[in-house]
């Protein structure tokens, strides 16, 4: 059995292709984070001290600052984590619309990411199980095809949640004068990347499921419009599944490159840096 996302033999992406891209992405991410940690570590461990230039400087300073008494917002790490990192109350306090936008992107993004991770885990466990002969003894939901179906509905829900956030973000960047005027390439790349990933995700999923994209994506201009209309009407794909594997492959590759590899080198770094800043400065309202 070829593995990836539990799709059938006809729709498979090669396991090797995906693994290579995944490892490459994680590798680039690790190198990028190493460079960032080195860069952050060029600071000192405390106020008025000389730069220590060690890769451990940042974690040491972070831990020290988290344990230091603060004159304002002296709250616990747990409170910061729940209210400020997960619930993002600092954004809510400033702008409910921006909070809704950011929160939907955050929830959609993180949940889809977590579900992708879970799917990968199930596939790997099952694949290893097949090699070692314990696959049959795994619980019923640990079958990749079953697990994929289990994730299908939440996958749709969180994809739409993410899409709502992205649409608001695009609207603000295009139609809210103040936001539009302050937008620079640094901001645009983030949003363009996010949009491309989400749209390709919908397209790949649609083609694979042969539902909403039936006959539309496989549009062939040489086919008479009447045939296309009939095809759409009867749900009979003209070229079923032709583009499903490359569409999924494109989505996965671009997701891995944007969502993992590109993080340390772009505005995506805020995904990591903001929670750390909130922890260091004890969040607060």
């Amino acid at each position: 059995m070829e593995y990836f996302a539990g799709v059938s033999e006809a729709l498979r992406l090669t396991f090797v292709q995906i693994m290579i891209i995944s490892i490459l992405s994680v590798g680039i991410f690790v190198v990028g984070m190493y460079i960032n940690l080195k860069k952050w570590g060029m600071g000192s461990t405390g106020y008025g001290q000389a730069p220590s230039k060690s890769i451990l400087t940042f974690p040491k300073t972070l831990m020290y600052q988290m344990n230091e008494h603060a004159h304002v917002h002296n709250q616990s790490v747990l409170k910061t984590f729940v209210f400020d990192i997960l619930f993002q109350r600092r954004i809510l306090q400033r702008s409910p619309v921006r909070w809704f936008m950011h929160f939907t992107i955050f929830v959609g993004w993180m949940t889809l990411f977590a579900m992708s991770g879970a799917m990968f885990f199930v596939e790997m466990t099952h694949m290893i199980g097949e090699k070692l002969g314990y696959a049959e003894s795994l619980p019923w939901f640990m079958n990749p095809e079953v697990f994929r179906e289990l994730l299908s509905t939440p996958n749709d829900i969180f994809s739409y949640i993410l899409l709502v956030g992205i649409i608001i973000a695009i609207y603000r960047r295009l139609f809210v004068a103040k936001t539009r005027e302050s937008t620079i390439a640094y901001d645009s790349i983030l949003l363009i990347g996010l949009t491309v990933i989400t749209v390709t995700g919908f397209i790949a999923d649609g083609i694979r499921n042969n539902t909403i994209w039936n006959g539309v994506i496989n549009f062939d201009w040489t086919i008479p419009m009447t045939n296309i209309a009939l095809s759409l009407h009867y749900g009979d794909p003209i070229f079923p599944f032709t583009y499903a594997p490359p569409a999924a492959l494109f989505h996965v590759i671009i997701s891995l490159l944007f969502c993992i590899a590109y993080i340390p080198f772009s505005k995506y770094i805020h995904i990591i840096a903001i929670p750390l800043a909130l922890l260091a400065n004890k969040g607060g309202e």
Binding site: W40, Q65, A273
Partner: protein
Amino acid sequence: MAKREPSINTENFTAVQLMELDSCSRCGECVNWCPTYDASGKNPGLAPRDKILRWKEFMNKSYGLRARLFGPKEISAEEIEQFKNDVYGCTTCGMCATVCESAINTVELWESMRANLVKRGNGPYGKQGMFLKLIGEYKNPYMADNKDRTNWFPKDIKVEDKAEVLYFGGCTAELRQRKLALATARVLNKLGIKFTMLGEDEICCGSALVRTGQYFINDTAKINAQKNIDNIEAKGAKIVLYACAGCYRASLIDWPRLTGKELPFKVVHITEFLQDLIKKGEIKWEKSIDKKVTYHDPCHLGRHVGVFEPPRAVLEAIPGIEFVEMERIKENQRCCGAGGGVKAGLPDLALGVASTRVEDALATNADILSSACPFCKRNLSDGRDAIGAKELEVEDVIVLVAEAMGIDLSDTPAE
């Protein structure tokens, strides 16, 4: 070929601060609230978000991936000079930190940038460069004889040689806004509080040096902080009272950091002290102040350390005062414009910010705009004069307290 040296370094930044540069999501909330950006006619260079982005770019040009692979990219002297001008166009009021969705501690970030630029030879800005020399030579930034701190006190003022309570007057109140120092001393006397003062042994708290990034030069700020602490200890003080928000903040936050030690005494603002006495019913009011009063939160007392209620409680306890709030108060208060060395370095900018704050007060129809910091009082008075709002009185809370306690301050000597 040898790689080029980076144009900037990371001196005076902590590792967390360097990380904070990457945590800016550019939401623009800081820009919406920044008082100097507003007063400058929306000069984009003064926008906190822009300053973070520029230093982040400087860091990436010097230490990012490209710099590691092909060597650092040069940052022109003009670019750094422009950056310096912009980073000094900030009162370090901390409004940007309050509204920052990423909780970046911007005040300390600006101070680190300033210290870095001073070390690099770019900072400080304009007349701020005189602070170090003046404080080193005169122990105060006003070029005044340090003996003049308290030797002008009228004979009726009783200052103990040693006491558990010490009043740290501060340079501005003792040497410029003397009515405030006199009011504090007479209020304490009338309340029967035995207190002592440092007199000519008092040295500038160092706030001006820390805020303008000059604290590390010759360790002046650290040495002065330690001398003040030692002198306070020698007076046997357990509680140190401050009527100046700048000195209060410097003592509470900067002194322990500079010296690396916990303070051996309690730091209390005079309004906190009075609030406690009011609760105990130990203050007897003798006069009614039948006026409408509003209160301006000094940044160093409010946002920086969270003392919002005590000054309000004191004002509300004074008979006859009708207390009204301005639109922007407490955490969201608008700065008076004097802090961060702006009053000395960029007086026009300071005046612009102060004028806006005075307009906030005028909108409440208040008769008195009060504050709890002599430096705020000075700049707000200048702002009032600049817009010709002569009907508005600018006065410190402690002076109003003295007045309501029937204390005469008419013998306050001229500066």
